[in-house]
């Protein structure tokens, strides 16, 4: 294991995949940057990527499909005449790389007439030929497909032994991401990371309804050992899910109204993602996502004053946490990654940045970096896409000596305990959201009294976080996340983790989804 602190490790060099390091990215980068320099650009960077994906799907004990995909190519980005220019290509020759650099410069010339504010980047130290590899033991792409398919087949067969289970599905997504970054300043960075998303779901029908129950295991920046080393108890979950589904199918429909909620990390991570993670992206706050994903209620003029939530709310941005899906040593602009505060004592105190935005708001970096400093949030999901500001691992911190989940439930007279994520939606300024979950347990007088069905919770972001009375202790903190966060035009996806403790919220609006659909 190595390279998990955000600093390069000399030992990482030997862990880089030789099938990647044998590719001619250094010579291509030299050719592209050399040509860009000849054309007089103010900045040029070269990014060579190979991203390998494998998806295996199983349904009712039969392999439904196994597919491997490899995205390979390179991109050149320049600042010329004050404008961005970007081009990508697949011709892996020095001449091909130089031609792509020429195209990027030509695009910048077209863009210059429409660029009112010249683009400038915050400074960043030069990193001279460093490497970084994420923390994992076994690359899942090195495990035979048949072995992985057999595991998933076994999962669905075990699920189907449950009396309430009519059908079962399982899947395994695996990604190996290799990147080489070089720029005219002299930085050269080679990186490799692994991520893994296993999942399963059981489906069944009751007297007048059907429903499902899915695994709540999080996707991880780990290797295949995640499935075998006990870090998640797969056997216990496979045994419990059919029983939980059977209970859900017989559960009463919830009575709409106002409830206190105790929310488990397997559900709360997604609420954090939508209502804090995206809302504290500075590109959104400045309007750069306005035509697509939207802007943010957390506008820049409110930095340091916006009451985001209750005083127990402390949220960090972090691209260094071990096994985080957004964790990496250096971002796609050659910036060394870090962790920092976004919300402290319930007040907005920070944003997620790339180099261009850091230059626009240098005061965010403090007096040590008068020209501004990015906090390392630039990311492109493929060699064919331009890096944009993407999410760090945005996490809610636990209380140092905080309560257990059981203690939090014990404080509730009438409420719901929420486990697992399902449906999610939030408006384009991150005010109004609605979430469902895998399981909702009714709490009466401090105790769980069985599941209820047809539940959604709906709130406004600052009201919701303002109603957070308590966060659990470190023993309740879990790192969850997603592979598929979408953003930007053209659309890009990114993987990101969110850690959080179990937390207690007072007086949240609960909808009955059957009523919502009724007439």
């Amino acid at each position: 294991m190595s390279g998990t602190s955000g600093t390069a490790d000399a030992g990482d060099l030997g862990r880089l995949d030789p099938t990647f390091t044998s590719l001619p990215y250094r010579s291509l980068g030299d050719a592209a940057l050399s040509r860009a320099r000849e054309l007089g650009v103010a900045h040029a960077d070269f990014r060579f990527e190979r991203v390998r994906y494998q998806r295996i799907g199983v349904r009712d004990g039969a392999l439904q499909g196994a597919s491997d995909t490899e995205d390979l190519g390179f991109a050149v980005r320049v600042i010329h005449q004050g404008a961005w220019g970007f081009a990508s290509g697949v011709d892996l020759t020095p001449a091909g790389a130089a031609a792509v650099a020429e195209t990027a410069v030509a695009v910048a010339r077209v863009a210059a007439s429409m660029t009112a504010v010249p683009v400038e980047l915050a400074p960043e130290p030069v990193y001279d030929d460093v490497t970084w590899v994420s923390s994992y033991v076994t690359n899942p792409l090195d495990v035979p497909v048949a072995e992985k398919a057999a595991l998933l087949v076994d999962w669905t067969e075990r699920l189907r032994t449950g009396a309430a289970v009519d059908h079962a599905s399982a899947y395994l997504l695996q990604v190996q991401e290799n990147k080489y970054y070089a720029d005219l300043a002299g930085t050269r960075i080679t990186q490799q990371r692994i991520r893994l998303q296993p999942g399963f779901e059981a489906m069944g029908a009751g007297a007048d309804t059907f429903d499902s129950m899915a695994s709540i295991a999080p996707p991880v920046g780990r290797g295949y050992e995640y499935l075998t080393d006990g870090s998640h108890d797969w056997d216990a979950e496979l045994e419990q899910v059919p029983e939980l589904l059977a209970e859900k199918l017989k559960a009463p429909s919830v009575e709409a109204g106002t409830y206190d909620l105790v929310i488990h990390p397997s559900n709360l991570w997604l609420t954090i993602h939508e209502s804090i993670g995206h809302a504290t992206e500075l590109d959104r706050a400045l309007g750069y996502e306005a035509n697509y994903a939207g802007t943010s209620f957390a506008t820049y003029d409110q930095l340091g004053t916006l009451r985001y939530g209750s005083p127990v709310m402390h949220v960090t941005g972090d691209r260094t946490v071990e096994h985080g899906l957004s964790t990496i040593g250096y971002d796609d602009e050659g910036v060394q990654t870090r962790s920092w505060d976004l919300v402290r004592d319930g007040v907005l105190v920070g944003y997620q940045l790339d180099r261009a935005m850091a230059h626009m708001k240098p005061e965010l970096a403090g007096p040590d970096d008068p020209g501004g400093r990015s906090n390392g949030c630039a990311y492109a999901d493929s060699p064919g896409h331009i890096p944009i500001q993407r999410m760090a691992n945005v996490s809610l911190q636990p209380a140092a000596d905080g309560p257990s989940t059981e203690e939090l439930i014990g404080r509730v007279e009438r409420g719901l305990y929420v486990v697992g994520d399902k449906s999610w939606s939030i408006d384009m300024q991150r005010f109004n959201f609605q979430f469902t979950g895998q399981r909702f347990y009714r709490i009466a007088d401090g105790e769980l009294v069985g599941q209820v069905r047809d539940v959604a919770y709906q709130a406004t972001t600052t009201d919701f976080w303002g109603s957070m009375e308590a966060v659990g202790g470190p023993q309740t903190w879990e790192l969850h996340g997603a592979f598929n966060c979408g953003k930007a035009q053209p659309g890009q996806v990114a993987a990101v983790s969110h850690g959080c403790p179990t937390a207690l919220f007072r007086g949240v609006r609960i909808l009955n989804t059957t009523d919502e659909a009724g007439h």
């Binding site: 697949v90 695009v107 309007g287 300024q429 991150r430 609605q434 007439h519």
Partner: protein, 464 residues
Amino acid sequence: MTTLATPQSLVDQALAVTTADDCIVIVRDATSANLRWANNTLTTNGVMHGITATVVSFIRTAHGVATASVSGAASTQAQVTALVEKADAAARASSPAEDAADLVRGAASPDWDNAPVPTDVHVYDDFAPALGEAFGRASGAGRVLYGFVNHELTTTYLGSTTGLRLRHVQPTGHYGCTGKNAALTESAWVGGATRDFSGVDALALDAELERRLAWGSRRVDLPAGRYDTILPPTAVADLMIDAYWSAGARVAWEGQSVFSKRGGGTRIGERLTSPGVHLYSDPAYAALECAPFVVASSSGNETSVFDNGLPLARTDWLRDGELTSLLQTRHSAEMTHQPVTPVVDNLVLDVDGGQGSVADLVAGTERGLLLTCLWYIREVDPQSLLLTGLTRDGVYLVEGGEITGSVNNFRFNESPVDLLRRFTAASATVPSFSREWGDDYFSRTATPALRVPDFNMSSVSQAM
């Protein structure tokens, strides 16, 4: 100077070197060019070129046919050979496929030998100068523009050891522009799909945004509730795409969707919506043309690699309000005892008697809401296909047949299937563009505007 091989030679190379019993090769040559802007200035842009190959290998065993699919960048013979080796090895290590069927044989496109058709930044030769002028005009008038244009050309080559040699050229383009007033308290959006950007005028887009923002000079705050609501074609497209994506036959057959019959089977043959409602796909629909054959890189609930090359034709999903077909592979068709009706990459909603435009529906509304588009739509309950989402970039109050002001945004909870049962008026069907799904997933739609008498605005959104 280029070392890139032709797509046809990549297909030939793959089929020549495979050691599998059968092999299908899909080569896609894709070019794209885009411009993005915000705050009245260009922000990012790009020109991209990619060539990918998907190799699907089939190995016959005593227990069935095993298959595996491997995709990757492939611009040289060596790269495609490496993909074939991986696919062949993966198929040999795989288990028998549940959807095994005979591969399609022998069909060939007359234009097979033609080169890929590219696009580049010159597709904006007329649009870009006008956009620069629109920035100046908007700045001078206190408007802020945010937007994106994208044009792609993908040429697909599909070859097989059973003789398929199919080629398809797919242009995909779209434009969208959001306008806000200087205080950022009013927002409007216009957007659409295009095959070639002819006739897309940045100044005309800005003029329409100016007109819509003027509607916001009177602001009316309304509470949550059920409203007589006009959904314009773009919002109808937003919702119909979700209905289409939920129409998998296998999932319905197994009892897990709104198209499942209680007690088992599908609802094919049931009247689900008002009479006169027709939902269909047609690869030849004018201006929405799409691939007339199946291209499947991997198998799943609604796709099968064994179906590659199957011809596609007009398919009615709802005919006169009756569910007539669901998304079928040959495997699911055998399971559900229905005809084979694979996914088609466009969608049309027609309503008998639908005529006029959004303006005509507004003129016929005594009091209600006119939406612009919907956003962040997600499924809440598959049994009813209850969806949640939000209004965005313009909700307008209609009084006495006229737009009289702008209204706050709402969160809605509604089912598209139920909306097709409850609507009271429809306009003519026109090319439309889903704000939610059009950019990245599904841009080829034609839909009418619909007036729904009791659209469920579940809560108020403060977003502006």
